[in-house]
Symmetry: C2
Subunit: 552 residues, 2 copies
């Protein structure tokens, strides 16, 4: 019997290929891996979120068997509230992921109609003719898994986001034995996390961080405030343990931090020693050298806990000399200046601030080059597809694969929307499926298009000038002078003569005799061009010009 | 005789204190150090440049004796075309700086009326009762100097931007002997570059880079394209020398690169071996393994040489597999995503790309912690003021000073606009002088204020809706229906009903009887609020609403 084709389709990740969503298809069955979101970069003006393009999945809705979640970070689960109503399929995930996903679905009132199946790491289940097995991986949130997907054509291993950590805190280490076993049986395709494929060597263990934080707390003369990602449960555990050891009480500041501590301790992922956790109303009575605060704001987000403390907007807590602040997180690319501004502000108020790599108060959650090579060596895949990284990371990851003996011809560096077809003869990249960024702005999903963004860009640069032209509905002739209003263009108090002159120019233009022979579109265009030239000459700026026509 | 007060005033640097401009004042004399510009961050919408606030200097114009330039980077000379017409004072600088400054002043037609005095490194001159001596420092542009300023109260040492490099390429090493000599005679105040005060150890020599680049060129199978800062003359020299050694010809791409190569070679700072430099029309005939291209674009600037090559917009040159691209520069904070996008695009087209610290194709131009301590140890200042860095860098630099024995009470961490007064009794930070960011946008300097930026920010988020209301000039009653136009708000083709409903809402509102008892300002405000609520309910967006009133 000839085998059919296995299709591998990365569907979204805002430049990080396959990060937010991938599809695996064979015959009449599609398994979706993850459904995450990204936050906009500075060019996507006014956009709240970006979610993957699911139009291919919607077209093939009858084939989609379920969404399999590798771990509970936003970039892997955040699009579920938008995607589930379109696809209406069950979700498969570990216990912590179910807890965090449920909160999101409840907020959007779609929890009741969603079937969420909890699968323990090590467990497996059938989806159409696929069998999916969760294997434990270590990452910066507990209960993370990679996938072993059995297909009619062979076995796929998808690592999810992972690192190796032989001494993890709280979670399980990546199950190398299982990977070796599967590798011995034969792996058709490995898809592996490329996020840190640029980094030589090994990623340090989470325990390194525990020692660093313990050391800072031990020597701090006053309060210690630690900021980190709310989902980094192992980090919270280490801070709480260090606080307990040094007989300090722990206060949680920030909504997402409070929520996550509650969910993680309810589900057993966070152990809270007796009498360590304090209530906010006890904070002011607690001696400074007996206080540890855990808070959001590690990325300098303007409304986060730490930033509000730093800007003296938190009613319970403001910085005094003697305070120590630990940034137990690296700035995500793009957030550097917000983070730096927060650090500067803390220093100005007299805090001691520990930040940056050299304090060892943070390690990241992705594998470095030697770990990536180890995974390839254990799984010995026939084909290799690097995923979860920008194009350069995938390229470097493909080179690593080549360096340990995977032929270049068997390595496929894909982009979102590419369809890799594998069959018994080999692999081939075919025609693309839709994989545009889908913008969420306010209530609407997908209505913000490139024309709207283009207009916002123009508006942001030099502002807007609105000119109203009133004409007689019978004669078509101008009534009175055009009216003009501007915002974000020039200081109207100081330079109103520019707007007056523009009005005069528009009136003169519209009163020209030969206008009667032209269509309205032509006249509008000529007038806009004339005004644009006038403004540019006077100011070297090009505001957006809006013409409003009124007939009376 | 009691001595007067010596004032030290950092005036601008967009968060990097004193980077763009400082003033030193005693009695009736002011010396200005540098006059540079900064580029806007992403929140300063539409702004072209930021220059220092010179209002304090304008108020004290009669005292200002001259502007002393430490080196010819934009952040130290770029504001001269804007500042010189206001202050009308002579400039003192080294030869290369004069060459680069002259180009700028000529473009703005103010070269003829400006007196530029060339002072060789090691030379000195009088400015009022100050004597200023240039001492050679090593930095990432030749002919950089620090300042030894003799004042009635004692000697000031200002390092300018500097690093130590015992084997510099082209330029001179930092003159440690002179600093030791001055230190032995007694230094009142040291002001030193804090840019890399976070970095432990020593900054590597420029020669390290030469070896790395030579090695990449030696092994490259095809063309090699090197991108770096146009002002980094020593780097250009090393690339040209490596090309000559490997019998490759060099082609220059990018306007600022071409200009700088010409000026630097005319003035003798760049040595061009015979027959190495090629003309663009020879490029297509030159074998790929005999070609080196030096180009702008190391920061991913959209109109730069390399970015145009990467986006296939350069008519002479596009990427083919076998090409090698070297990023011989680090991304300036804020430019990371532009740089990464360029790297990804080059990889996609089949180039081999060398980038990042690990390739050793770049070293930076500022001193690290051990070098900073060495300078303090040699100069043994009584007072210390860290400059050129963001607040956290200055704080860390002050801690370094404390660690080698300078008392905390004698260290002053200033912000722009702070006035440090030193006299025989000690130092004190007094009332601030103006030090706002002065925005250059198009032709105008300083007219863009926070209200304009605020409006641009609102426009950039959710666009604009302009509504024209026509009323009868006698009765004050609405004529017809309001007219409405929007941009950047919603997709008008798909959601025109929102705008229609807004028109109807406005008409109904304006026809209400009780409006006659209210003033126009009150009515406008109420209408805007009603429309704002309506748009937010329908879309969760808040466009800027412009009301245009027309009476007929």
């Amino acid at each position: 019997m000839t085998k059919g084709k296995l299709k591998i389709i990365p569907l979204g990740g805002l430049g990080e290929i396959g990060k937010n969503m991938m599809a695996v298809e064979y015959g009449d069955d599609i398994v979706v891996i993850d459904a995450g979101l990204m936050f906009p970069d500075e060019e996507m003006l006014g956009i709240d979120l970006i979610i993957p393009d699911t139009s291919y999945l919607e077209e093939n809705k009858a084939k989609v068997r379920g969404i399999v979640i590798t771990h509970a970070h936003e970039d892997h689960i955040g699009a579920l509230p938008y995607v589930l109503p379109l696809l209406n399929v069950p979700v498969f995930c570990t216990k912590l992921a179910k807890g965090l996903i449920s909160v999101k679905l409840k907020e959007r009132h779609i929890l009741a109609q969603t079937k969420i199946n909890v699968i323990a790491p090590g467990g497996h289940f059938n989806l159409g003719l696929f069998t999916v097995e969760f294997f434990p991986v270590c990452h910066s949130i507990p209960d993370s898994v990679g996938l072993i997907i059995r297909t009619p054509l062979g076995v796929i291993v998808h690592t999810g986001d992972f690192k190796l950590d032989y001494t993890p805190v709280g979670g399980q280490p990546t199950d190398l034995s299982r990977l070796a076993q599967i590798g011995a049986q034969g792996v058709l395709l490995l898809m592996a996390d490329s996020t840190y494929a640029e980094l030589p060597g090994y990623t340090p263990s989470e325990q390194v961080v525990g020692n660093a934080i313990d050391n800072i707390i031990a020597n701090a003369p006053g309060r210690v405030m630690v900021t980190t990602f709310a989902s980094l449960i192992s980090r919270l555990q280490q801070v709480i343990d260090a606080a307990a050891k040094h007989e300090r009480r722990v206060f949680i500041v920030g909504r997402s931090m409070t929520d996550n501590v509650r969910i993680a301790s309810d589900l057993g992922y966070l152990k809270l020693p007796a009498d360590v956790m304090g209530r906010m109303d006890e904070l002011s009575r607690t001696p400074h050298d007996k206080t540890v605060v855990i808070t959001t704001g590690s990325q300098g987000e303007p409304t986060s806990g730490l930033v509000r403390i730093a800007s003296r907007a938190n009613q319970h807590l403001s910085i005094v000399p003697g305070d120590t602040v630990i940034f137990s997180a690296s700035p995500i690319p793009g957030n550097e200046s917000l983070v730096n501004r927060t650090i500067d502000s803390l220093f100005k108020q007299g805090a001691q601030v520990f930040y940056g790599n050299r304090t060892q108060a943070h390690v990241h959650g992705h594998a470095s080059q030697e770990e990536l090579k180890l995974i390839m060596s254990l799984t010995k895949p026939k084909y290799f597809v690097p995923v979860h990284g920008e194009y350069r990371h995938l390229t470097l990851h493909a080179k690593l694969a080549h360096s340990i003996g995977i032929p270049l011809a068997n390595t496929f560096v894909l982009e979102d929307g590419d369809v890799l077809s594998l069959d018994s003869n080999g692999g081939k990249i075919g025609a693309k499926v839709p994989s545009e960024n889908v913008y969420v702005d306010g209530l609407s999903v997908g209505d913000v298009n490139s024309a709207i963004l283009h207009n916002r860009r123009i508006l942001s640069r030099d502002g807007v000038v609105a000119i109203t032209i009133v004409t007689n509905k019978h004669t078509g002739r101008l009534v009175g002078r055009p009216a003009i209003v501007s915002r974000g263009f020039v200081d109207v108090a100081e330079t109103s003569d520019i707007l007056d002159s523009a009005c005069a120019l528009a009136a003169e233009f519209l009163n020209k005799e030969d206008n009667h022979t032209k269509g309205r579109g032509v006249i509008d265009n000529e007038l806009k061009n004339a005004l644009d030239r006038f403004f540019y000459e006077k100011t070297k700026r090009r505001p957006m010009i809006l013409l409003v026509h009124v007939k009376v």
